[in-house]
């Protein structure tokens, strides 16, 4: 064992380590500068003109340097990521990290104190709020539709009633050409194929909205399974988050599952019409999702916690929709974070609405938006308001 050989080896190892570290060290710092300086200008060029015509005096966020960590629903993830990306063009020094881990974990992390804000499609329960102790605002951001989608390449158009859906997810209807489905779809040639149910396997606000709907249309579902973030599924396979469910459906012929609208449409998966309480079959889209919220506007509670599932009236209402909220504490401790957070939320609720429509999320009804903005002005740092509405 000669010394020279040893030295060679050590040298080589060192060299190799350098090679691996090179992308981190060599190009590492440079790209940060790029993302912080160059990228915004690129973004600004594309993002500014779009939003400029909409509001006459474009909103200028206060100059702060902040990092915000957040986690929550995967339901609004596409729009949140879009907002965060565009917002870099407006406020280059604010880095927001939103991880789509599911509503359940979103609330857990937020109430556990490990995130600056949380995202959820199921509003926090009284119990959760009580345990947390401090005042929490639910700031609604967009309205989304939970669509039922399936994988049957030859089937062009199909529609469901709530009862049928419940029976499929209960495992009572197991074939695509079952009489219950056939009765609702006269003239449609249904394949003789087994149904594979795909559901969420993690704690999910999308699940909460969907099971809430099934409970509202089926007594059987209500007693056997019930409502919640994660329930005991009688049949089917589980996928992680909205993406996992969509992927499992895509991979499985004969599968049926539920996801947020954009996850289906961007995947070219079908979004069948669902029978609403007025007895009409309605397809999910911007108008029918917005319509779902309208019936609840008058009875909107002050804390903005409301379910808009299966509204009793309205012919053009899509029955499985919901608000998605951002959870923030009323008393903020960190001034820069509070400034960055409120500015971002204001920007999202005003200039960001256009992005939302492009991704299939219905913007908030005007009255709800006003209430949401009002909540922003009530956020405080050390007793002083963290945000004032621009005149």
């Amino acid at each position: 064992m000669s010394l020279t050989k040893n030295r060679q080896i050590v040298f080589f190892c060192f060299l190799a380590l350098l090679v691996f570290l090179a992308p981190a060290c060599g190009s590492g710092p440079a790209p940060t500068d790029m993302t912080k300086k160059d990228q915004p200008t690129v973004e600004a060029e594309t993002a500014e003109p779009k939003s400029a015509p909409k509001t006459t005096n474009s909103f200028k966020p206060r100059a702060v340097k902040a990092k915000l960590t957040a986690s929550g629903a995967s339901f609004p993830d596409p729009i949140y990521q879009k907002w965060i990306e565009s917002y870099k063009g407006v406020a280059p020094d604010v880095a927001i990290n939103y991880q789509p881990v599911g509503s359940g974990q979103g609330r857990k992390n937020f109430f556990g104190g490990s995130t600056d804000f949380g995202g959820t499609d199921k509003y926090a329960s009284d119990e959760e709020l009580e345990t947390f102790g401090k005042d929490v605002f639910h700031i609604p951001t967009v309205l989304g539709a939970v669509v039922v989608t399936y994988n049957l390449p030859d089937l062009e158009k199909i529609q469901f009633s709530g009862e049928t859906l419940a029976n499929i997810f209960l495992g009572k209807i197991t074939k695509w050409n079952a009489s219950a489905i056939a009765k609702e779809n006269p003239g449609v040639e249904l394949p003789d194929e087994a149904i594979t149910v795909v559901h969420r396997s993690d704690g999910s606000g999308t699940t909460s909205i969907f099971t809430n709907y099934l409970s509202s249309v089926s007594k059987d579902w209500q007693t056997k399974v019930g409502t919640g973030d994660s329930v005991e599924w009688p049949v089917g396979i589980g996928g992680e988050k909205n993406p996992g469910v969509a992927q499992a459906i895509k991979q499985t012929e004969g599968a049926i599952g539920y996801v947020e609208l954009i996850y289906a449409t961007a995947n070219k998966l079908p979004t069948p019409a669902i029978k609403n309480a007025a007895g009409e079959y309605v397809e999910p889209n911007l108008a029918s999702t917005s319509a779902a919220a309208e019936g609840f506007l008058k009875t909107m509670p002050a804390d903005l916690r409301v379910n808009i599932i299966n509204p009793p009236e309205g012919e053009k209402v899509y029955p499985i929709a919901g608000f998605t909220w951002i959870l923030v504490t009323k008393e903020q401790t960190d001034k820069t974070k509070a400034t960055a957070l409120t500015d971002f939320l204001y920007w999202s609720l005003t200039e960001g609405t256009k992005d939302a429509e492009a991704l299939g999320y219905a913007p908030l009804p005007e009255t709800v938006r006003e209430k949401a903005l009002e909540k922003l002005t009530q956020i405080e740092v050390a007793g002083k308001p963290a945000f004032k509405l621009p005149k």
Binding site: M1, K5, N6, Q8, I9, V10, F12, C13, A16, F20, L21, P23, A24, S27, G28, A30, P31, T32, M34, T35, K67, T69, S71, P78, Q81, K82, I84, E85, A95, I96, N97, Y98, Q99, V101, N109, G112, G113, S114, G239, E240, K241, P243, G244, A246, Q247, I249, K250, I262, Y263, T265, A266, N267, K268, A358, L359, G360
Partner: protein, 289 residues
């Protein structure tokens, strides 16, 4: 038994058959290896570009009509992985090496036997269980997902690898070397640090590299501890991205364009892990010659 099996032809057939079976088994085992590496390399290579290494996450362009375009790269994952695993190496190296020295220099006592057994237990502990412990002890206590919590979990997984390699390699250092030093009046600690450990450097480096490789590919503990980060981050006290987490995330995406990112990330990850492994092997082999 054999004397009774007098039918030579039949015995010969059995022999040939079993030989065939063994060759077949070996080939069968190599098929998935080539399939996995082949897919990762070919599908991964097609999604690689310079931007893939120099840019962090960017929101994919999506529209209702079904056009999805992936954008950005995995620089945040590369940086995050190196930071997390690097830090865990810093934790694990001193503990692992010194515990290994203990086992090699004081091998025959009940404490050493217990330590050796504990090392085995640690190396067999499911990584998710270690993740659960880091989650309870660090994430929940500090109320903060952080790269550091991930590092601690990975360090626990690395320690047994380093300890065992150090012990094995120190045992290979001839006793005569130690005796020569001690005969000159060198104290034991000085012998160990100036004579024995340097002679075993390459072996310890091998152990460290193997531990590095194992930890880089670990996903489960990170799932519970580092949360993930879409921005390029350099602080271990904050949530960080990591290559295996990104591979998982992009795999579960329903959009083929983002699945391509998964293959690309997988290629970077596999490349990193396998080349560190090769390096480790190369180091040992030349030492043993």
């Amino acid at each position: 038994m054999i004397t009774q099996a007098s039918n030579y032809k039949q015995r010969k057939i059995v022999d040939q058959f079993m030989r065939g079976l063994m060759v077949g088994a070996t080939i069968l085992a190599l098929i998935p290896l080539f399939l996995i590496l082949g897919y990762v390399i070919f599908r991964g290579a097609s999604s690689l570009s310079l931007a893939f290494f120099t840019e962090a996450y960017k929101a994919p362009q999506m529209s209702l009509t079904g056009d999805v375009q992936s954008a950005g790269g995995v620089l945040h994952g590369i940086v995050g992985s190196i930071l997390i695993v690097g830090a865990s190496l810093l934790f694990a190296l001193p503990i692992g090496i010194l515990a290994g020295v203990f086992l090699a220099e004081y091998p025959a006592n009940s404490v050493a036997t217990t330590v050796r057994f504990a090392t085995d237990v640690l190396s067999a502990a499911p990584s998710i269980v270690v993740g659960v412990v880091a989650y309870i002890l660090i994430v929940q206590r500090t109320k903060q997902f952080s790269g550091l919590a991930g590092s601690v979990a990975l360090a626990v997984l690395m320690i047994p690898v380093i300890t065992r390699t150090t012990e094995e390699i120190l045992k290979l250092v001839p006793h005569t070397v130690r005796e020569a030093a001690i005969a000159l009046g060198t104290p034991k600690w000085k012998t160990t640090f100036t004579v024995v450990l340097p002679a075993a450097t390459s072996g310890i480096v091998t152990g460290a590299l193997l531990a590095f490789a194992r930890a880089t590919g670990e996903t489960a503990p990170l799932l519970l501890t580092v949360l993930g980060n879409n921005n390029l981050g350099y602080s271990l006290l904050e949530p960080l991205a990591a290559l295996p987490l990104l591979t998982y995330k992009y795999t579960e995406m329903p959009f083929p364009e983002l699945n391509d990112l998964a293959w690309g990330t997988a290629l970077v990850l596999t490349g990193l892990v396998l080349s560190v492994n090769l390096l480790a092997r190369w180091a040992t082999r030349s030492r043993l010659k």
